[in-house]
Symmetry: C2
Subunit: 337 residues, 2 copies
């Protein structure tokens, strides 16, 4: 079975996944901007998002969404959550029946509070769907480093075949049948990365960072499990793995946003200086609504929400967390009092 892969979106991660796919199968990346498509096609580079890295020479690129999508045997959505639905709607009319749709986005839809695979199901019902997610910093992969990721598809047969399409010797793909958990883990960890970055910006050390990551994973696992995710997913590459990579890496945008907030800048100032999307900034509002809806206590996410949406300082947020009562570690988690 010959598979044509099409990636929608030529940002840093979409382009990187397209580069990986091009090692295995004929691959096309769709870029909204014709100059980006032209550069990928002609020079095998994407200087806007991945300056200094060479892309696979066989990777094709186009700015014509009809041309790209009509040849797709797998559609990979490398678009951030806020543009996900509208872009998929553009693609939908060109998509052949039964073609699986894989989300790369790590956010939730504002307004509806939906996961991206829920959006896929609404826009192109009947297509197998899923998510590719894990500790995958784009530039390290383009630089030739090893990375491990998780592919969770609604259909296990499709998932097993796509595992071979995505995997290379250095890009290790593990399958998981928990689409909901994988997707939530990817979205929720960005909120915790902002918190971890805030602690960094305030000048705290590795002890605090480890505590924020650990308590952050407990928080996101609680909400994720309440929403139907599998606890093993949150303990795995899509949960803990991605959380750790995002919280420790200098390359993470969400951690960077937190660090700047920790240094005392406002969210408006921080966003103005970035030309890429930090999903956690918008997702934190959705997470807060979900935590109320599902009755899950999320003290770290709550403090991040206040800093981003209510003008609280990062220093106040940190003091708020330190002021909480010291009690049993697994209070509210393991079922006992």
């Amino acid at each position: 079975m010959m598979i044509n892969a099409v990636v929608i979106g030529a940002g840093s991660w979409g382009t990187t996944v397209a580069h990986v796919l091009a090692h295995n199968v004929p691959t096309t990346v769709w870029a909204r901007e014709p100059d980006v498509a032209g550069e990928i096609r002609d020079k095998h580079t994407n200087s806007r998002y991945l300056a200094g890295y060479d892309l696979h020479p066989d990777l094709r690129a186009t700015a014509d969404i009809a041309e790209a999508v009509s040849h797709a045997d797998v559609l990979v959505m490398g678009v951030p959550s806020h543009g996900f639905r509208s872009t998929l709607e553009q693609a939908a009319e060109h998509l052949r029946p039964w073609v699986p749709v894989v989300s790369l986005a790590k956010g939730l839809e504002q307004g509806t509070n939906k996961r991206m695979t829920e959006v896929i199901n609404e826009v192109v019902p009947g297509h197998p769907f899923g998510v590719l997610t894990g500790p995958n910093l784009a530039k390290e992969i383009l630089g030739g480093g090893a990375a491990a990721t998780v592919l969770a598809m609604s259909d296990a047969t499709v998932g097993a075949r796509l595992q071979e399409v995505f995997a290379t010797d250095l890009f290790r793909v593990y399958t998981n049948d928990d689409v909901v958990g994988c997707e939530l883990a990817g979205a929720l960890k960005n909120v915790m990365a902002i918190a971890s970055g805030m602690a960094d910006g305030l000048g705290t050390g590795d002890n605090t960072r480890a505590a924020v990551i650990t308590r952050g994973l407990a928080e996101l696992s609680r909400l994720g499990m309440a929403m139907g995710g599998d606890p093993f997913t949150f303990a795995g590459l899509a949960g803990m793995g991605d959380l750790v990579a995002t919280c420790v890496s200098r390359q993470s945008r969400n951690r960077h946003v937190g660090e700047e907030l920790g240094k005392g800048r406002t969210i408006e100032q921080v966003i103005e200086d970035m030309h890429m999307v930090a999903e956690g900034v918008k997702t934190v509002s959705v997470v807060r609504e979900l935590s109320i809806q599902y009755g899950v206590e999320m003290p770290i996410a709550e403090e991040v929400y206040r800093v981003i949406n209510e003008g609280q300082s990062a220093a106040e947020a940190y003091r708020g967390l330190l002021g909480r009562r010291q009690r049993r570690e697994m209070h509210g988690i393991d079922g006992s009092e």
Copy 2:
């Protein structure tokens, strides 16, 4: 109830815990070397292990183990695993009945494969016992940073009282009733920190580090659960938290050992240059025996064992891990095939 705390061992972590305790209760630290005891007593510093940091002025110190132990209402064992039993045997004859004994060690006893609280039970049976463990880099705590830790005692009433003895505004103590899991987590994470350091020394990036940490936690959780630990413990501060701090911190000795191995040095060369103990170097042999005894697959620990004990290079170890089959992420963990 007035409690006199006594810490046995004036290495970096024993001294730091004594410094924290001195904020709350009368505290004495016992140093094997009289000059270390004298310096702590007279200058409130410990330049051999904690150069540049001031200790609490009320912290007492002595090199007379009988004097120290005979006044103890809680005995805190800040001695590495290889000297734990013999030092406790020296202390035992001076210890009053019912005095709780808390281990700070993060290793397992070579030869017997025992946990430190098992050693406590053998040397001073009848005493309440437990462990204090978590993501706690000593110098950050002395520098005034916040940290969270876990106290697991065999007796919950004793644990609740000791929580107040150890806790300060910045040193946050959570209780946990899983002594076995907390103790195993602290010991096993040092092996994984060596693996993470090896990857660093080989020049890999944050993606690989996050994958090693995540897969390493899965491994140590598998063995820890087989030995009676609670899965929640491994997902908490004593497990994941300590693992993350150790694997990312420049201050971790075990990570440092791994990094030097990753750069191609031999274990003999690395150890010769260190004047402190890296517990993971010896614990990995115990862990390997336990993994065979309990029938738990531990590919990362196995590769660390080969590098340390069989002269395999770190590069070969890394290739060995990358050569493993890509399959379901939770293969062998979640009970399904």
